[in-house]
């Protein structure tokens, strides 16, 4: 009974908010939605905290698509994997709800905003509790829709609309992969339900498809394409930085903690399939490491505070996929878990910074703010330390374990991934502290007016950030045994493929890399060693390449968008307007009108004409009697 309540309370509240929205003050919808998600959160904590009492179960609500031999049910599945996701989603969502009530309070559409993030929460919960691919796909599309609506929340801004469209369209490409994957699964397995698929796996190993694909490789590759779209992996990542056009709480909830991790969740959910698909695993490892690397390199050059964090998210998602590619599913899940909290901390903290600097997002126009906003400063420190993997913080446990596993991964791609993970750890530290130093230290670059206005956020905004930062500090220490130690038997009943335990060491030389990054950032931005100037002037090509985000957007414009547009133009102007419409509707209507006018003009109004017409036809009719043979 608890599970349906968790899932459907946000939906119910969203609908209620939508109904009462025009009749009540905005505050009522704020309270309603926040209470709804809070209720869900409490229930999921009740489910999640007694770790050892997980009873994997599937609640069938009612049949959806009855087919011959196979009926799809709307159902809610519960197992440890779902439990983790429920905890993450409801907690972050609740804190973001609380944060938004204050952050959005001056916006006219705040009620709509609350309704939408409540609806998003429902779809996300629906996605993670899905017992089969079809329902997962519903949730998958639902979160995509909510993401679209929320990115374009300020619909009077052209850039927001463009970004929303971009997110939606890029995600469609990924969704196509997911649909193909689902179709192939249904074709071969005859079912879409996870448990049944995993049960049938042993009989399916040796099937191979045309063109040399093995069935498992093909299915998982298609599913991975879907995951790439959702989780902004290299190639389909272009929407994520632009998605920062949405309000900051949206970035924290959707584009850091929950929706973008849906791809990781899907991959972990399908880990039994992935285990049988070595080729796909290699591809995932490669794409993951490229993503981690490229996003980190871009992040070090960007100036928009939210974009830096967005690229950081992208990069961390790359880590998760690297873990999946190396078969370390529990590690990916663990990094997802910790990342949700420290990245939400960073985003909400960034929101607080933006709030303090009167909606300025360029970090070059900030500085010397730590005295004015001490709480935010502390939160950003905590978030950044967790992000770079500083020992007691949660990021340390997850990232460290991934790097540890990568170091044992064999093959050239494994080695490459390992090196990338090390280098990215360094870069992460660099851009994280570049951000902190530029925003909080050094000399102030903001206008006097803005500086005079810098102020700490209200307590309603600080409370969620503080809660998240507490989680960012302690959640890793508290739960790493649970996630990563196979002896704890946490994952029982979830079909997640386990890997051997990880041992942490505080004296791992790897830990020097983040420190190196911090020192470098300190040298450049506090001590003002002109290394960055040197790079800008002497390595212009590389700098420009990084600053323009590897020119991926331009590449896509030239390679994909322009050809499609010109093809569409040709089809539209030539094919549709000239050929189809010209021969079809236009020609027909014109001919009909012409005929109508011609026939109309036969009616002269002269009685002599009429009589002639009548006589002519009479004479014409007479011969008919001689050879009439209708029957």
């Amino acid at each position: 009974m608890i599970l349906p309540l968790i899932v459907f309370t946000p939906l119910f509240m969203a609908i209620l908010a939508w109904i009462i929205l025009p009749h009540f003050k905005p505050i009522s919808t704020h309270i309603l939605t926040t209470l709804g998600v809070g209720f869900s959160m409490i229930l999921s904590i009740i489910l999640f905290v007694p770790f050892f009492h997980f009873v994997p179960q599937t609640i069938e609500l009612f049949p959806w698509i009855p087919l011959e031999g196979y009926t799809t049910y709307w159902s809610l599945k519960f197992d440890p994997l779902v439990g983790v996701m429920l905890f993450v989603v409801t907690t972050v969502s609740f804190l973001v709800h609380v944060y938004s009530t204050e952050y959005m309070s001056h916006d006219q559409g705040s009620s709509r905003f609350m309704m939408l993030i409540s609806l998003f929460t429902f779809f996300m919960l629906f996605l993670v509790t899905a017992a089969d691919f079809l329902q997962l796909f519903c949730g998958w599309e639902g979160v995509g829709l909510c993401s679209y609506l929320l990115i374009g929340f300020w619909f009077h801004k052209d850039s927001a609309i463009e970004a929303a469209k971009k997110a939606f369209i890029v995600n469609r490409i990924g969704d196509l992969g997911l649909i193909i994957g689902m179709a192939v699964i249904y074709y071969y397995f005859g079912t879409l339900e996870f448990t049944q698929i995993f049960d049938k796996l042993p009989t399916m190993i040796n099937i191979s498809l045309p063109l040399g694909f093995s069935l498992m490789d093909f299915i998982t590759l298609m599913l991975f394409i879907g995951a790439m779209g959702k989780s902004a992996q290299f190639g389909l990542h272009v929407w994520l930085p632009d998605a920062m056009e949405g309000p900051t709480p949206v970035s924290a909830l959707i584009h850091a903690a929950t929706m973008v991790t849906a791809g990781v969740f899907l991959m972990v959910r399908c880990s039994p399939l992935l285990e049988l698909a070595p080729v796909t695993k290699d591809i995932i490892l490669l794409i993951g490491s490229i993503t981690a690397f490229f996003a980190a390199t871009i992040a070090i050059t960007q100036n928009d505070i939210k974009r830096i964090i967005a690229y950081s998210t992208c990069s961390q998602l790359g880590y998760m996929f690297m873990a999946i590619g190396s078969g370390f599913y529990t590690g990916a899940m663990f990094h997802l878990f910790t990342h949700a909290f420290f990245k939400a901390t960073l985003f909400l903290g960034a929101g607080s910074v933006i709030h303090a600097f009167s909606h300025e997002q360029n970090i070059k126009k900030m500085g010397d703010a730590f005295r004015h906003i001490p709480y935010t400063y502390a939160m950003m420190w905590i978030g950044s330390l967790a992000l770079i993997g500083c020992p007691p913080f949660s990021g340390f446990f997850s990232k460290e374990s991934i790097i540890h596993i990568l170091s044992h991964t064999s093959g050239s791609i494994g080695t490459f991934a390992y090196l990338v993970s090390l280098f990215v750890a360094f870069l992460t530290a660099f851009y994280a502290f570049r951000l902190i130093f530029l925003v909080f230290h050094g000399k102030s670059n903001a206008d006097d007016k803005v500086v005079a206005h810098i102020h700490e956020s209200p307590s309603l905004m600080l409370f969620p950030v503080i809660m998240l930062s507490i989680l960012a500090i302690f959640i890793g220490v508290m739960t790493y045994r649970l996630f990563l130690n196979p002896d704890v038997r946490f994952w029982v009943g979830s079909h997640v493929v386990l890997s051997p335990g990880v041992h942490y060491s505080l004296f791992d030389p790897v830990l020097l890399l983040p420190i190196l990054g911090i020192v470098l950032a300190w040298l450049i931005y506090i001590k003002e060693f002109p290394i960055n100037v040197f790079c800008k002037t002497h390595l212009t090509l590389i700098y420009e390449f990084l600053f323009t985000k590897w020119r991926i957007d331009e590449l896509y414009t030239v390679l994909i968008i322009n050809p499609i547009f010109s093809l569409a133009n040709i089809l539209w102007k030539m094919g549709d307007e000239k050929i189809i419409e010209g021969i079809g509707p236009k020609f027909l209507t014109q001919t009909t009108n012409y005929l109508g006018n011609k026939i109309k003009s036969l009616q002269t109004g002269y009685i002599s004409d009429y009589i002639i017409v009548i006589f002519i036809f009479l004479v014409l009719l007479i011969p008919l009697i001689f050879f009439g043979s209708y029957k």
């Binding site: 009909t592 009108n593 005929l595 109508g596 006018n597 026939i599 109309k600 009616q603 109004g605 009685i607 004409d609 009429y610 009589i611 017409v613 009548i614 036809f617 009479l618 009719l621 007479i622 008919l624 009697i625 009439g628 043979s629 209708y630 029957k631």
Partner: protein
């Protein structure tokens, strides 16, 4: 003898009431009283028809035919007559019926109609056609000082005379071959012969052409639009309905009676005229801006739909034809009724555009009018769809031949054209922003009875295929009429 007299009661009553109304009009009776008298006669006749409904005995050799088929046509004609009498009872704006002969003419038309529908003798039907036509000519010309009216009456008269001459010529040929006027005898003679004389076929063609002129089937329709446009509405509503019912009645009776052996001659004629009517009417209606003219052309197209199923020579075809006729007459009456109603409360409707102005003041009635047009265009779930469906399926009742497929495809395509101009009216009503139009300052004529009647008729015509009681009556009557005509 007494039995026969009872059968002739309706005609006798009408004749007597004509005489009475002549006396009344000489006595300078008030117009409204005269119209009330006419209405009373109509209602009384209707009562008689209902009473005698069960007592019809068919005898084919008398001068007047009494069978369920003629009974059905008389019922429609009388029903239309009563409705029109109710609508016209209190006078109109653009048409001064303060001419005391008007009721006499109305009743003469009714008498002509009754005699024509049940005439069983060429001499009689010739005379009744003349009675009918002459009355309508006079009616058209009755608006003094209205130039268009005179012109249209003139055209109507001359073309009517042409029709009469064809008719007389055809009858003469028939007589020349058979030596008799009686349908019954002619049919006997025809059936006795192994080869049908050419003169007989020619006579058949001339009589058909005369009747097609009367029902304004293309290509003999040329007079109708001018008459519709030129005459006052009160006359149009009359000549658009009752004479056509009468002419169609006798046409169908001829085709399925004495001309039955000649089916090889008349099927191509009816087929070609029907197809031409549908196409010509639909295409000409497209470009019209004058509402009455548009209705004239659409009436030509609908006549095509009514006569086309006759070529099937089966029960389904006849049923479809009669259903379509009933539907069309009801709809036409309500369309004209609503327009008349608008006119008497002060909105002159000449062009389609005027309707959008009316819509501002009387949205409910305009909506009803719009529904009627949609029904006419043949859109489900209104009756118009079902009658068209009936017509088209009747071509497949016996067997599927190439020609039936072609005809139905043609009818479907033409229905698309019809949808174009009927929807165009809806568009003009609702989606055009027109400047404020002047309203006539005369006091509106309030006539609750007329308004209620119009609304009821309109609702019946929109839904007469699924209003339970009415559809039952319709099926019952049409079924009996068809089986009596087909001698089943």
């Amino acid at each position: 003898m007494n039995e026969i007299l009872i059968q002739y009661y309706p005609e006798i009553i009408i004749f007597c009431s004509i005489l009475l109304s002549l006396i009344f009009s000489v006595m300078q009776a008030k117009m409204e009283d005269l119209m009330n008298f006419v209405l009373t006669v109509g209602l009384f006749l209707f009562a008689i028809l209902v009473v005698f409904k069960g007592k019809i005995f068919i005898h084919t050799d008398y001068i007047l035919m009494k069978e369920p088929f003629t009974y059905y046509f008389k019922a429609i004609a009388l029903f239309s007559f009563i409705v029109i009498a109710i609508i016209l009872r209190k006078g109109l704006r653009d048409f001064s019926i303060e001419i005391n002969e008007f009721p006499v003419l109305l009743l003469s038309i009714l008498l002509g109609t009754f005699l024509l529908i049940s005439g069983n003798d060429f001499a009689l039907i010739f005379l009744s056609v003349e009675l009918l036509s002459l009355s309508t000519y006079v009616m058209c010309a009755m608006t003094p000082g209205f130039k268009n009216s005179t012109e249209s009456a003139m055209k109507y008269f001359i073309l009517g005379a042409l029709s009469t001459s064809f008719f007389a010529f055809g009858i003469a040929m028939m007589y020349g071959v058979s030596g008799t006027f009686s349908f019954y005898d002619i049919e006997l003679i025809m059936k006795a012969q192994t080869e049908i004389p050419i003169l007989f076929q020619l006579g058949c063609v001339f009589i058909l052409v005369a009747l097609l002129l009367k029902i304004s089937a293309a290509p003999f329709h040329v007079w109708l639009p001018d008459i519709f446009q030129g005459s006052p509405l009160a006359v149009v509503i009359f000549i658009g309905t009752i004479p056509k019912i009468a002419a169609l009645g006798i046409l169908i009776r001829l085709l399925y009676g004495p001309f039955e052996p000649l089916y090889q001659s008349w099927i191509p004629i009816i087929c070609i005229c029907g197809l031409l009517s549908v196409g010509w009417g639909m295409f000409s209606a497209m470009g019209q801006t004058n509402l009455k003219r548009l209705l004239a052309y659409s009436s030509i197209a609908h006549i095509g739909f009514i006569i086309l199923p006759l070529i099937n020579q089966n029960i389904r075809g006849l049923q479809a034809s009669l259903s379509y006729l009933t539907f069309y007459m009801l709809t036409l009456l309500s369309v004209f009724g609503i327009i008349l109603w608008f006119q008497r409360i002060g909105h002159k409707i000449e062009n389609i555009k005027d309707l959008s102005v009316v819509n501002r003041y009387h949205p409910n009635m305009t909506a009803l009018l719009g529904l009627l047009f949609i029904s006419l265009s043949g859109m489900p779930p209104f009756s118009g769809f079902f009658v068209k469906l009936h017509v088209i399926t009747s071509f497949f009742a016996n067997k599927e031949s190439m020609s039936s497929v072609l005809i139905s495809v043609y009818l479907l395509l033409m229905s698309v054209v019809a949808a174009y101009y009927y929807l165009n009216i809806i568009k003009e009503i609702y989606f055009n922003n027109l400047p404020e139009a002047s309203i006539m300052k005369q006091a509106p004529i309030n006539d609750i009875l007329a308004k209620t009647t119009i609304i009821v008729i309109a609702l019946i015509s929109i839904g007469f295929f699924w209003i339970p009681l009415i559809s039952q009556i319709r099926e019952d009557l049409i079924g009996k009429a068809v089986s009596s005509l087909m001698r089943l």
